[in-house]
Symmetry: C2
Subunit: 288 residues, 2 copies
Amino acid sequence: MKAGFVGLGSMGAPMAINLVKAGFPVAGYDVRAEAATAFAAAGGRGAASAAEAARGADALVLMVVAIAQAETILFENGALEALAPDAGVILMATCPPQAVADLARRIEATGRAFVDAPVSGGVVGAREGTLTIMAAAPQATFDRFQPLLAAMGSRLRHVGESAGQGATVKTINQLLCGVHIAAAGEALALARTMGVDPAIVLDIMSGSAATSWMLKDRGPRMIRDNPDVTSAIDIFVKDLGIVLTAGEQAGAATPLARVAHGLFRKASAAGHGAEDDSQIVHVFPTLT
Amino acid sequence: MKAGFVGLGSMGAPMAINLVKAGFPVAGYDVRAEAATAFAAAGGRGAASAAEAARGADALVLMVVAIAQAETILFENGALEALAPDAGVILMATCPPQAVADLARRIEATGRAFVDAPVSGGVVGAREGTLTIMAAAPQATFDRFQPLLAAMGSRLRHVGESAGQGATVKTINQLLCGVHIAAAGEALALARTMGVDPAIVLDIMSGSAATSWMLKDRGPRMIRDNPDVTSAIDIFVKDLGIVLTAGEQAGAATPLARVAHGLFRKASAAGHGAEDDSQIVHVFPTLT
């Protein structure tokens, strides 16, 4: 199975390299030419355009920033028609469920297959091939692309047969992640205001029923000055925005996600959008 | 060290029994006479009143429902003056930090010591002696009562020297617990509304960065009909109320706790206050 890969960023590059390591011939493209060069140095084939990456491929993996980019690549830049006639498009970016379902219809209208397959697990998971992949596609399509997906994520789950269901699971994942980060910030900011050492609180909470994966991961960075950026505040402005839109379209209330989104937006509006998302902790003292 | 123990409920009874097992002579009292009888059958000494439980004791442990009960027991029912002159009062219930600090002052004015020592870990932790105890007291007082506390909880932490700091840590614990339960409900309710199997979502989220202790504990009961009651919705109406009051008194914003409190209150107002707190999941479809 010959693959094209578009989007060789911090997630995409290691994912594409894992495909190469698994023995798939992969042509990779990124808007930053140096990313394709680095991919070629790592054993892949660098492509000069998305259409070139797609040419004759059986599968085109898209690990782009947003669904608008996927649409441009497929329909305006010629990547879809460059694919083999029975190829599949595998969208792995975090996108709104309804938009994913719409995109699937347009792709399937050309006779090609579509897999809605967003991921969770971050850069570490991408590098180590341990990503969680939430894949939605008809069973036969899922079975066909299963080896390719399994090369990128050891936690591959078939969550449904309809495009948009993978995006829905990822949306819910981001709801919990975003709310948990904001809750950790609310808790540690409250500790500081009430005169209890946040490090003691973090230590106790990390081992009690109050713990979360995010508390343990982001908490230490919340009580440290100038931590590294592992994931930016603006990612959750975007992803919680997707949660709210998905909830509205489905007629479902998401009151905690709404508050968390407001907190990330407030941090971003104050100029902190590119900072580590743990820095949401500093928004709370500015609220009254 | 001779101990009195007031409040032999689902938490207090196993805690008092662990004191007995550790070799402390303990006189136990509860408003339900049968609780004191059961305690006597388990090796303790049953007392007919709080003052009788306190008489001549070096330590009086209070595991009551609310701080008003502690005040009544100590000042109106004669338990404080029944204690040895240099005894200590150990308050282990979940109470508002400011009220705990006020209570400490009144007790210390009589020459007696006070330990602010709420717990986390539930009935299982109480029974197995693995509770987390968040103890605040001057160092010498903490050292003096350390053996007694350690007999009830293997995770004993000295969080500060001022009464109210233990209650503050517990308050923050409950903030995270309450928000995480509500977030799990919001996530699983959204899954159902959007047409994805909540069991698949729960399985994936439990192993991803989206996980929390509460998601893994309450999540399975959210997707099951009529689960057992392990902790009631009304507990979080009370405890998140304490969070909001503490935040207001400290001038700290707690926007996520506020929303979560509103959700638990709404469930309680609809008649579900005595149900398992996992049943908060059913509130979301009623919001619009």
